[in-house]
Every structure is written in structure tokens, then in C-alpha cells.
């Protein structure tokens, strides 16, 4: 029995072109007896069709069913995640967004964050606080303590860069920055949602 064991581990995510066939070897790592390995890797799992818009979730149950149909003598051990998200990438969306679109978003963020910091300064009476700090340190009442405020403004930019761990493309150290972690978590949440919802729909369709 143990000689005929097949160990199956689904990958996290797989990208395909529309209308292509998904084979087992593409979506999973396999350890199997040598005589079966090639046939297993070429086992047809799923045909992408037009109804699957962006994503298909393939459940390991579906894969095991296919395997037992074609290789009834094998004993299948599925380890790792119970499903894989197959992302369908039409050739049209492969290209990068237009430079104008990027510039547009850039300006939104630039103006928006500038406005946000002004609102913040008003909200917390930063002007009064700066005047007060200037007075407490020097003993002089000054209407516009620019000597304090200009370094403060530059410091805001430096602080953001420090927080996100990037000086343009150069990283300050090797660990992932909060932004990278946040992108990862966001993707993981999306995946979790997709796995739960799309999967159920698939099952309903088949019944």
C-alpha cells in the first residue's frame, strides 16, 4: 500500500490564460511512484471556460475524485491547503496601466495628503502649539516661528519614509516594510473570501 502512495500539495495560486486546460502538474507538487509520475502530472483537471470570469477555485476534493477515477490503485495523501485559486488573466489586462492614469493617481495622492496635513494642523491647533514651543524654548513671542516650522515640515516627509522603510527604491534594511506586510494581508483576505464564496458557487453549479 505504501508503495502506491501519492503525496499531493496544492500551490497557493496559479495564473492561466483564458480557455486553457489546467493540468495537475501545474497546480500541485506531487510525490508519486516513478511509473505513475508523468501520467499524474499530465492528468487533466479543469477546462477554463467563459463563465469563470476572473477566478476559479479548484477544491482538493475535485482533484482527488479525478485521481481516484483514473488511478484507483493509488492511495492519495493531500497535504497543504485544501484548495487553489486559479486566476485567469486575459491578454488585454496583462499590460501595465497607462502613464496618464498613474500620473492622475499620483496627483490625487499628492494633493490629498497635502490637504490632509493642513486639515490636521488646523484640527489640533498646530500653529498655537508651535508658537508656544518657540516661546517656551527662547522666551521670545514670535508670530511665525518658521525656524521651527520648516524643519518640522521636512521631518514629516522623513518620518513617512522611515515608517514605510523606503528611500525611493533603496531599502533601509532587509525586513519587509509595513506596506509590504499590509499588501500581503490584503491579498490574503481577498483570497480567503474568494475561497469561501466562489467555492460554494461552484458546488451549486455542479449539483
Amino acid at each position: 500500500m505504501s508503495q502506491d502512495a501519492v503525496y499531493l500539495r496544492l500551490r497557493n495560486r496559479y495564473f492561466v490564460n483564458p480557455n486553457s486546460k489546467v493540468l495537475l502538474g501545474e497546480i500541485a507538487q506531487i510525490i508519486a511512484p516513478e511509473q505513475h509520475e508523468k501520467a499524474l502530472k499530465r492528468l487533466f483537471i479543469y477546462q477554463i471556460n467563459k463563465e469563470d470570469e476572473h477566478l476559479v477555485v479548484i477544491d482538493s476534493m475535485h482533484i482527488i475524485k479525478k485521481l481516484t477515477e483514473h488511478f484507483p490503485q493509488l492511495h492519495i495523501e493531500s497535504i497543504g491547503s485544501p484548495q487553489i485559486i486559479v486566476e485567469i488573466i486575459p491578454s488585454s489586462t496583462k499590460k501595465k496601466p497607462h502613464a496618464i492614469a498613474v500620473a492622475f493617481v499620483w496627483i490625487i495622492l499628492f494633493v490629498g495628503s497635502g490637504l490632509a496635513i493642513m486639515n490636521f494642523h488646523h484640527d489640533v491647533s498646530m500653529e498655537e502649539v508651535h508658537k508656544r514651543i518657540y516661546y517656551l524654548i527662547t522666551g521670545i513671542h514670535k508670530k511665525d516661528p518658521l525656524i521651527l516650522q520648516i524643519p518640522y515640515s521636512l521631518g514629516i516627509g522623513l518620518g513617512m519614509i522611515l515608517f514605510f522603510n523606503h528611500v525611493f527604491k533603496k531599502k533601509i534594511n532587509e525586513e519587509p516594510s509595513p506596506l509590504e506586510v499590509e499588501m500581503f494581508l490584503y491579498q490574503q483576505n481577498l483570497d480567503q473570501y474568494v475561497v469561501l464564496n466562489e467555492n460554494e458557487q461552484n458546488r451549486k453549479k455542479k449539483q
Binding site: 496635513i117 500653529e127 508651535h130 521631518g155 522623513l158 522611515l162 509595513p178
Partner: protein, 142 residues
């Protein structure tokens, strides 16, 4: 007797207010993960208790100087240093808030802009600097 009663009530109110504001501030800074972030940058996790003390001592002493009106009569160029540090801290606050609100990951995913995310981050950084400078140099004087 009445005076003593008033005295106690006022102390109670002051202490309660301070407790609420102090714990609120600590909670805010904690949610935004600024101390862990700074420790990660300098690989100094073992000093994390010192950073917490710095936060606490800073809050208490600045409150004291402000309320008592303690004037130091120091040369004005020292405010450059204070201003820079205050700015860095506010910048980190702003960065952390943006991150909590998930602005950049959503932009990257929705608008397919993951590869230019650094440029977009720089937009926010320069936007903050420009907005702040505009505020102090042009907006307030006029």
C-alpha cells in the same frame, strides 16, 4: 471643611482626566505600531521598554512645561532640532494612519498599479511636505 472637600474633588477630576487622556494616547500610539516600527528599523527590540519610558517621560514633562509656562531662554536655532523631531514623529503618525486605512494596497490591487506603488508612496510624502510648507509659508501669513 468645605474647602477640603472641593480640594479633593478637584484632585480627583484632574487625576481622572489625566488617566483618560494618558491611556488614550498610549492606546493610539500602540494601535499605530510606531514603537515596534522604530525598534525594527534600528534592530533594537531589547530597548523597547526604554522607548516606552521615553514616550511617557516626554508626555509628562512637556505637559508640565506647558502648564507651568517654564521658559528656557535658549537660542532660537535649537527649535530647528525640536521641529525636525516633531515632524518625523508626525510623519510616522501620518504614515501609520494611511496604512491602517489600507489606501495603498487597495489602489495597487484595484488599479493594477502594484509596480508603481513606490512612486505613489512618494506622491504622499511630497504631498505632505508641500502641504505643510504651504500651510506655514503662505496660508497662515495671508
Amino acid at each position: 471643611m468645605m474647602q477640603l472637600f472641593q480640594f479633593i474633588i478637584i484632585i480627583m477630576i484632574g487625576l481622572a482626566g489625566g488617566l483618560a487622556v494618558g491611556s488614550g494616547m498610549v492606546a493610539f500610539i500602540t494601535v499605530l505600531d510606531i514603537i515596534p516600527r522604530l525598534s525594527q528599523l534600528i534592530k533594537g527590540y531589547q530597548y523597547i521598554t526604554w522607548f516606552q519610558r521615553a514616550l511617557m517621560i516626554g508626555a509628562v514633562s512637556f505637559t508640565w512645561f506647558d502648564f507651568r509656562g517654564t521658559v528656557f531662554h535658549l537660542p532660537s536655532f535649537l527649535t530647528v532640532i525640536i521641529g525636525s523631531f516633531a515632524g518625523i514623529f508626525v510623519g510616522m503618525l501620518a504614515g501609520a494612519l494611511t496604512e491602517v486605512l489600507n489606501v495603498l494596497p487597495i489602489l495597487a490591487k484595484r488599479l493594477n498599479m502594484a509596480h508603481v506603488i513606490i512612486i505613489l508612496l512618494m506622491a504622499m510624502v511630497f504631498g505632505k511636505i508641500a502641504g505643510s510648507l504651504f500651510h506655514w509659508l503662505i496660508y497662515i501669513p495671508n
